[in-house]
Structures are given as C-alpha cells and as structure tokens.
Point group: C2
Chain length 489, copies 2
C-alpha cells in the first residue's frame, strides 16, 4: 500500500506534509472551527440565553489543583417549559455550542409538544469553555484534561445542579447528540442512566474503534455514495489521484496545477490539492442532505448527485483531475462567492486543535482505503501514527481505552436501554454506527437516503417523507420513555 | 447535640483529639491495616500465585505524567480452571489483597463447581500497589490518584489484558466484593457491563451517601443488635458514656479509669477509653457471625450475645462503665493473650491512611447518633468535617460526587441487571445496602442473622442452615447468569 499524507492536520497545517500511514477522522466540528477562522462566518442568531457553570477541572482525581473551577458555557431555551416537564439536553461536541444549537433545530421543533426545557452544553476545551483561558491549548499539561470521560462527568454535574436550581429534580432528562456528540449522548445514557432516562444518538460512530468494524468501511462508504449515483463519476475520481501524483514529478506541473485549480496563490506542492479534493468528496458524502443546507458550507440538495452530474457532463477528453476539480468546486463555491481558491491555507498559529488532540489520545479510529474505494489505497500504521502524536504532543495514544471504557456493541445487549441510534446510510460515519436493533429499547433507525445527523436539522417544507417519518418515530419513542418514567413516579 | 470526638482517625492517632461533629466510617480494611502494624499478625498462607500488572496512573487525563505506570498486585488461583470457563474476580478494597483473599473462602469453595479461575486484584494505594512507592501517601499530590473511579478503571484494564494474555477472551467474568469491595463490584457491573456479566456485592452500603438513607441508621442498627439480645445490655452501654464523661472532670479519675480499664500505661484522657469501647461495640456488631471467626480479631460465635451475657451477669451494683469495659474486653481479649490493654495507641508515623483520605474526598458518608441509639447523641456538621479534611490534606470533600457518578437506588431500576446485593441485618452497614429486589435480576438476599459479608467466609461444618441456603442461592443465580451468557455466544 502506498503511504498517504497525514490528513489529521488537514485544516490547520496543510504545509506540514508529514508522511504517515494514517487517515483523518472527518468530524465536522473540527473542520468548522477552521472554517470560522478563515471565513469569519457570522454567528447565527439563536433563541437561547447564554449561561456559565462553575465546573470542576478534574472529576477523577483529588489533587489540590483538580478542584480548580472553570466556566462552562451552556445555552437555555425555556420558552415552552413548565416545571416538572422534560429537560432535553444536547451533549455538546467538538466546537462552539452555538453551531450545534443552530444545526439541531429538531430540538426546538419538538420542544412545544413536550413543553421541554432545552439545554445545550458546550464541551470543555471548545468554544468559550476553556479551563485555562487562552493557555488551554498550550501543551499536554493543560490539554490533558480534554477527553470524553471528563466531558460526560461535566454534563452529569451540570445537569444535576441545574435541576436543583430549577427545583425540578423530578424532571426527566433526555440527552441528544449528533456525531461525536451522539457518541457522548449514548455513552452518557450508559454511564449515567440515573441522570438521563434516554438518549437520541444521531450518526454516532461508537463502533469506529479498535477492530470492531473493518477499517476500510468509512472510505468504502464515501465511494459507494458516488458509485451509486454514477459509475463514471466514481471512476473519474478514482483515476484523478494518479494524474495528480504524476504531476508531482513533472517540471512546470505546479504552475499548471495552480491554473487548473484556480488557486489564489501558486501551489507549493500537489499534496494540498490532494487534501482539498479529498475533503470535498468526504464532507459532501457526509452532508448529502435531501434539501439545500448550510452545515459545513452552503450546498444544494443531494450534492453528491450534483457533483457527479458535473463530472458526467464534462467530455471524457478532459483530464480526470480537471473533472474531479470541477466537482469539488461545488463544495467550495456553490454560492459562487469565490473568484479563486485558497487551497493552501495559512498555518494555524496555535498548531493544535482539540479534536486532533482527542484523536491522538483516546479517539483512535483506525482508517484505511481499500483497493475498491475511490481513494488511493492506504493502510494504517499504528506505530507511525503514535510516533506522530508523541512528536506533536509528547503523549502516546491509548488505542484500546475507548473499547475498555465504553465497550462495543456487546455492552448494549443485556444491559443498556432507551437509546435510539439513528443513521443515514449516505453518511460514511454510519458504518461505525449501530445499524440493527439490539433490544426492545435500543433501537436502530436507519434511512437509506439520510446523511450526517439529518434528523437533527430543522424541519423544512421540502423534507422528504422518509425524513418526516424518521423524526416522527423518534418523537414517539421519546414519548414512550417519558410515559414510562412518569408512570413510575 | 453534644459534640463528639473525631473517630475518623481512631486507629491512627487517638491522641489527636480534634473535636468535630462527625462520626467514623468503620470499614474493616482501614482498621485492619493498623491492627497488622500493631500486632504484627502473620500473613496467612494462601493457595494463590502473586502477579504484578503494569497499570496506568491516571485513566482519565492525558497529561505526560498520567501515563506513568505502577505495579498493581493481583493473586491468581488456576487450580480448577479450564480455558473458556468463568473468571471470578474479587474487586479489592481498602487493604492488603491477601487479607481479602483469606476472608473470601467462598470463592475458593465454589471454584471447582464452576471450573473458575480466581483473581484477587489489589486496590491502588493499598498493600503493595503503591503508585509512588514509599511516597504514595506523601500528600494530596500523590494521594489525589486514590479514588474509586480510578480503581474501577484499573480493574477494567487489568481484566481485559489478563483475558487476552490467557487467550480466553470469551470467558465470562463475574465480580465479587465485600464491604467497600462490594460497592466496587456493584459499580463495576453498572459501569463496565461489557467486562463483567454480573456482580455479587456482599454488605455493600452503596446508599450510605448524601441523603439517600437516614444518617442515624448505622448507629441505630448497632444499638438494635444489642437491644435485641438484652434490653439491660443496651441500657448499660447507653448509660456508660455519661459515667465516662463525668470522670473527665474529676481529679484522680484518669488513674481510676486506667485501673478499671487495665491499661498498660496510664491514660492521658478519657477520650481514648471512649474510642476503645466504641470500636469494640461497632466492630462486634459488624462481625456478629454465627460461628467462631477471626476476621478483625478472634471472636466466638454470636459475639454480641456473649458480650451481653457478660454485662447481664455482673451485679447491677457495679458501675455501668465497668460492665461496658468487661463486655468490650471480649473483643480485645477473647484469646486471653493480653495482660493489659494498649488503649492509647502510638501515633502512626505516617499520620495518613488511605481510607481516611477516601472519606475526606469522595466517600463522604454522613453519620449521626440518634437519642434512641446506645451511643451519645451527635450530629453531622458538614462544614466542620470539610474544614478538618482541608486542614489534614489541603483538599475539600466532594460530598455529592458519589451520587452524581453512581446514582442511588434509582440507577438500578430501569437499567442495571445481574447484581446480587447480600446483606446480613446484624451488620450495621446493611442499612446502607439494597434490601429489596429491584428487578428480576437485581436481587436482594437478606438474612436476619447474617453479619458483615458472612456469605464470603469459608464454609464450616458449624454453618447454620440459613447461611448454607444463602450461599446456595448465590451459586444458583451466578449459574443462571453464566447459562444465559453461554446461550448467547
């Protein structure tokens, strides 16, 4: 297998082309943070009040410094709430909490029906919830406190305190989360069932660890999305990498490539063009929504179809690379606001990002590209990956920790209850999700045409029937949990 | 309510009479550690091989120092095991693991029937499992890593690794624990159900926190044990404290008291005599076993009966205090090896003890003495207690953490499964235990005549029928879990 460039640092330092046999984990939050910095996207106006909770730095040790407090941000909407009614909590993931609130309109949509209080809790070390202020990302000494178990304990402490302050201890809590936030929601229900009566985990790849699923499944799924639309489209993209690779040894190639890719500045390497294409195809597969949307970037309905239409329309005498570029441009320039593309981003001054840290410590998700995928074949060399992490942060990953701490599918069988795992098969993360019912109350809701937590988006008039039906099922199941809870009181 | 002396430091520094409105948590392990030091009790010969596992210092942070390894001791007996058969793990509590192995003969007794591998894992910061060697107890900086969640994660990592090394990943694991070890076993099943298929938690007071049970229940239960045997016995002990209290203001009283109490050296205060009596009554209630036993100290069968017989036999013209002393002597001198009593122990050089640390951080178990108890009435002043902890360790307790992290009874209802809570009502800790079935697989086995994890003791020919029956029930339930597990494979 050919080695492939490190995509872990994709959005932050595309210049630092450290060769490594490891592929990126494309979680939206991580990328979005960089997009915000680059594009200075304006903050959405949301119907929430902002609060800050004095949170304990380290829940699991009792050194003098462990009890240091930091201020954890959370958002509240109480427009529909009455005391004693449910509390719906979004377990924040790797980004500003506003972004998740803006993209989880589903909770606002259903709040009136349940008279629910809505709470969106920001994940420590993201957004404004910085335990060491501006120094939070300084080194492993500070970042050491950034991990999923501390985040879950944060949620537990904050929710418990909030209920006391509201004098509404008997209010049932349901947790919601998408992507990594969905993993947190499911794990929260598993580890803190006394605090949350149920969890709706949307597009939560809780099985993307260790050897629980085939390592090639993510990129096979991306490829399948394109292949399902058009075999030609899949073949063009698959063939484009070799053309790009060939250019890396040709004189004048970078000038030509810069022209083809309409870059704002001349390219210094082919690697950045490769990252740029790669990102476009992966994220477009993830957000292959049935309606126009602006999650990562503004895109039309079913953008994979649109990309393939672009490729299929271009005569086959054009190079595969130019056709792949044309398709990728849809992702970067659907709004037609770009005259040229900033393919080589500026290096991020911090050189560190929270999700990158998490993948280098606990969130080790091995990924490979099989020969059948539309990406260049590549393996996963754990030792090389670990060495990169040690170089960058001075710590070694714990590749088996997540499965030790949270288990795989097995944990759910005779034990867990009241969890919905919803997955859209367009989303490559679905392959690491729970796709079959595990018990009468651990339910897998799978939609063939769904994408990355599509169910969490605000309802629109153009929503297809299957999406309306999916959300209806979710509401019914949550209602059932609540009925059981109130009957037990 | 009258203030009462601090019993938290009872065994270690009876000279340091810090007044405080807080009562001790009489967990056997803590006391036994001191007994070993004083009496130089010889180590029992056990059919186990000793091993050491390289364990991670901090499972829940990723600072460079978090991944420091220490050697965690564990004991193995594979005499009856065949690959694929069950693994029975004792989740070690606050003491040397050998002591728990010696007092959990039940596991050895049932191993042949199940062809089970037996594993006794020592709790971090006890016995030989010292993360910082001799410096482990130096300060809160080192002790900070001593807590129940880190201990549970230790068990998870060690068991997972052990199964891999034995190439016996499919072996079902059942966890066993008594007292604090029983709390750990139950919590382990709740938090790591993917690693243990069930838990037998004997005398595990998982509800002894926050306001889950009345704070006076522990001492009311001790008193009830004595009252049930003889009302006179209860009244004599109840009246003895005032006589002792009165002596503290009398001249020559300490000389007289030293004589009455047959002390090896003259007493410096009445407080130590009080602690000495108190300890005897509490521990004797806990170990009110139906057969002769040597758990804390050698004692006859039903020692509470014997104590009350001593009191009831002495003519009522004798002082209550002298009669209480005579009864307490049974606890300290049943083997008649003592010519005099070392009532004022030497101050422990370390000045710190693991269980004391745990009560000052996470294991905050509020206790009071009601007017109905046979002890002097006393309250629980949290602020004073917290101040003591801050003075001693420089850290503040987190009094609501255990209920936030593990929940109370509620957690078990719609969620947990496969846990046996066994409790003997003679044991005052039973009042903090689960005494009623919670679901079809969370079973409470309660025996009126049982004492502190009596079911875990080796079977003897003199065991009463109810004890034989109790152990039989436990074996049947464990067999049922195993059958279900194997049927699922």
């Amino acid at each position: 297998m050919a080695p492939c460039l490190s995509f872990f640092f994709l959005f932050l330092c595309s210049f630092s082309a450290i060769p490594a046999n490891s592929l990126p984990t494309f979680f939206p939050g991580a990328a979005y943070q960089s997009l915000i910095k680059q594009a200075k996207i304006s903050k959405p106006k949301l119907p929430f009040k902002t609060h800050y909770f004095p949170q304990t730095l380290d829940h699991f040790t009792f050194q003098p410094k462990s009890s240091k407090l930091f201020y954890q941000k959370y958002l509240i909407n109480s427009d529909y709430w009455r005391k004693g009614a449910p509390i719906f909590v979004y377990t924040g993931n790797e980004g500003n909490i506003e972004w998740f609130a803006a993209n989880t309109g589903f909770m606002l949509d259903i709040a009136p029906k349940f008279k629910a209080l809505l709470v969106f809790i920001e994940h420590r070390f993201y957004g404004k919830s910085m335990p060491f202020g501006k120094d939070s990302y300084q080194s492993a000494k500070t970042l050491g406190y950034l991990n999923s178990q501390q985040a879950l304990a944060d949620f537990a402490v904050l929710i418990t305190s909030l209920k006391q302050n509201l004098s509404s201890e008997a209010s049932p809590v349901v947790v919601f989360g998408g992507s990594y936030g969905g993993m947190l929601a499911a794990w929260f229900r598993l580890k803190y069932p006394h605090i949350a009566i149920g969890a709706l985990a949307s597009s939560a790849p809780i099985l993307q660890f260790d050897k629980l699923i085939p390592w090639s499944s993510f990129y096979d799924a991306v490829s399948q999305d394109f292949k399902d639309v058009s075999l030609n489209c899949y073949q063009v993209i698959k063939g484009s990498w070799a053309e790009l690779e060939a250019m890396s040894t040709q004189k004048q190639a970078l000038a030509e490539l810069s022209k083809t890719f309409r870059t704002c500045k001349s390219l210094h390497s082919t690697a950045s063009a490769r990252d740029w294409l790669w990102t476009a195809f992966v994220y477009t597969a993830m957000v292959n929504y049935p309606t126009k949307a602006d999650f990562m970037k503004p895109l039309p309905a079913y953008p994979v179809q649109k990309m393939c239409k672009i490729i299929d329309k271009i005569p086959s005498r054009a190079t595969k690379l130019s056709r792949a570029f044309a398709a990728a441009s849809l992702y970067y320039n659907y709004s037609r606001s770009e005259n040229c593309f900033k393919i080589e981003h500026e290096v991020d001054g911090h050189g560190l990002h929270g999700w990158d840290w998490q993948t280098c410590t606990e969130m080790v998700m091995p990924m490979t590209c099989s020969k059948e995928s539309m990406f260049p074949p590549s393996g996963f060399d754990y030792e090389e990956f670990a060495e990169q992490c040690r170089m960058k942060y001075g710590v070694s990953p714990r590749p088996h920790w997540i499965t030790t701490e949270f288990g795989g599918e097995k944990v759910l069988k005779r034990f867990g209850s009241n969890i919905i795992f919803s997955n859209g098969m367009q989303d490559p993360w679905s392959r690491g999700g729970v796709l079959k019912n595990i018990s009468s109350s651990i339910i897998a809701l799978v939609t063939e045409k769904g994408a990355h937590h599509v169910d969490f988006r605000s309802a629109t008039k153009k929503d297809p029937k299957w999406l309306i039906q999916l959300r209806k099922q979710e509401v019914e199941i949550i209602q059932k949990w609540l009925n059981e809870y109130y009957a037990d009181l």
